[in-house]
Chain length 364, copies 2
């Protein structure tokens, strides 16, 4: 029986011409950004931001490396899975990006052509947020409807894996690699600055589990490192006029520098591959800011990318999922308290029985 | 060599006459509440709230049980410590409450009378916040100055223990005891509603580690339980006009009830003993709200109180601290990025060398 594994992620423009359509899709996603007159204002904001964002992509080589990393991870994962789980082999990987090619439609059509019947939606975001994994899954089910494949596959969902031991261990190794960039006598005192993409506070207050899950990952990594490093957690990449979870990474770096901290190793904790937020925001923008403020030892731990232990972990996550026959984690069906989106937390044609909480009654 | 162990906590009024002075001290603490004309407005607000808060204490038996639980824990802890660590025995326990008797002054004077030289300040808040442990420690050092004992003791600090295995295991047992209140066939599906005291968002954004540490405790408890329960985390007891971390426990209960959840076990995750926030807010106020909203199976897991495994954990935490000769955790000296309080993160006459980050430069 062929098993299709669909890797979900945000995606990125492969070249400079794809920057505008990427931003247009991003600003059209009402599951993360709600604008008045979104169908007019969304494209307007996207087009106005395009030239500046194109410059950022130009500076990191002319495009996002996310697809090529994802393809390498996927190839390694299915090769391992075929060995680990011959009873569900062959395993075929598909990529479904939320705001770039290949899209959910692309993945679904390719799955139908390959004769897949059993499909696993495997988020590439370790920690769950309605803004990331939630939005990708909702889009996947809508896309299946749009391309007439809503009845074709039997689905299960890997919706989070923020404490998977292989993932934690691979992160620990990347932190150690980052620490090797410092003189040996300074390594023990380097401050670890864990950084994750921020989330609008409105989503946090609605009950989105992302903040809790990122926090749990950070502590697991620090524990596995031996628990002796000073560390802190901050939130990056906030945009626009809404309030975001803080403290921001930008402000934290400024504050640490002003307190005389020289050595800080920034550790991206909520992305697994390099992309614009690591290669541009951390490595160029925030690194320049840190150096200008006197932080001579500002470095970044490598992203997981093609770390073999991480690819082992990906295969193990899918293998465990398939062998327990779980349709999703115990948390996926627990809608946020303040949820207003009836489409949320759905699973199309679930492989084993699935129930989710219904929408809460409208607030008084 | 006599070792003094000072248990730090917020404290509570032992009888109804102590409610007003308790609230006056609470609203005078500029490390958690900054009011204009605080010396006038603080007592004014405290006195205005006194009658209602007295009624809450009357309903739970006429006073806070926190001192009696703390004394029982302390007695068990030092008895175990004398066996575990004869080289630092005898161990004498002292209680220093932030807003009630016995105060920091009381503890310090008693320590001097008992001939203590080596002292350990042991917070009873598992997770660190500047609003709780931070404020208690700052007060302890000020009190030592006020009573002329700033030069008397050699200090170290146990500033957090939110992932201590014995603490996690005792929490797991309390959750299981809570689950035993449900019919056996329903236990597997009970939603665990972890609840912690909220924190003003201003402190969160300044870099206070409390949200991350509470989150890490919750995930460690769920993992140790076997990871199969649906659960969520919410924040209780917000007061006044400032913005607080959310979602609130009150709102979460209303939302869960409106989504048809019948069975929810609330688990206090940031306090170790019963006090007004468990006995009144959770067991009376929020339980009534939950039942009125149709949640027939709203229950609370017992607080740790005199759980023998927890008292073992307390002794182990102190024993490990003394045997590693650490003066504090690697995080205590890492001031919040937005810190403006020069007194923060101090250790008076540290037993082994201690440095903290200096205050950041004033923000532009």
């Amino acid at each position: 029986m062929t098993t299709g594994i669909v890797l979900l992620n945000l995606g990125g423009p492969r070249d400079l011409d794809e920057v505008e359509p990427f931003l247009v899709k991003l600003f059209a996603d009402r599951e993360i950004i709600k604008l008045p007159w979104q169908s007019i204002l969304g494209p307007f904001i996207a087009r106005r931001r395009t030239p500046a964002v194109r410059e950022l992509y130009r500076a990191i080589g002319g495009g996002s490396p996310l697809l090529s990393w994802t393809q390498r991870q996927a190839a390694g994962m299915v090769e391992r899975l075929d060995r680990l789980s011959p009873e569900t082999a062959p395993h075929l990987p598909f990529v479904a990006f939320r705001y770039a090619a290949p899209s959910s439609e692309d993945a679904l059509v390719a799955m139908a052509e390959a004769g897949v019947e059993r499909a696993v939606a495997f988020t590439q975001y370790p920690q769950f947020s309605c803004a990331t994994t939630g939005s990708s899954l909702n889009e996947l089910w809508r896309a299946a409807d749009r391309v007439g494949l809503a009845d074709r596959f039997s689905w299960s969902v890997i919706d989070r894996w923020y404490l998977h031991p292989g993932f934690i261990e691979a992160m620990v190794q990347r932190v150690r690699e980052g620490l090797e960039g410092y003189p040996e006598e300074e390594r023990g005192d380097v401050l670890l600055l864990f950084s994750a993409h921020s989330l609008p506070l409105e989503m946090v207050k609605r009950g989105d589990p992302y903040i809790r899950e990122v926090s749990a990952t950070v502590d697991a990594v620090v524990e596995a490192l031996g628990g002796r490093h000073p560390f802190t957690l901050s939130w990056q990449s906030e945009v626009g006029p809404v309030a975001w979870m803080g403290p921001s990474t930008e402000r934290t770096i400024a504050d640490l520098a002003s307190m005389g901290v020289k050595n800080a190793l920034v550790v991206p904790i909520a992305f697994t591959s390099d992309h614009i937020e690591t290669l541009s925001e951390l490595d160029i923008e925030l690194a320049e800011q840190a150096h200008a403020a006197g932080m001579t030892g500002f470095r970044r731990a490598p992203a997981l990318n093609d770390h073999p232990g991480f690819i082992d972990a990906m295969a193990d996550i899918v293998h465990r999922h398939l062998s327990t026959r779980e349709v999703c984690s115990p948390l996926y069906g627990v809608r946020c308290g303040g949820c207003t989106n009836a489409a949320c937390r759905n699973i199309l044609r679930p492989a084993t029985p699935y129930t989710r909480l219904p929408l809460p009654a409208a607030r008084g």
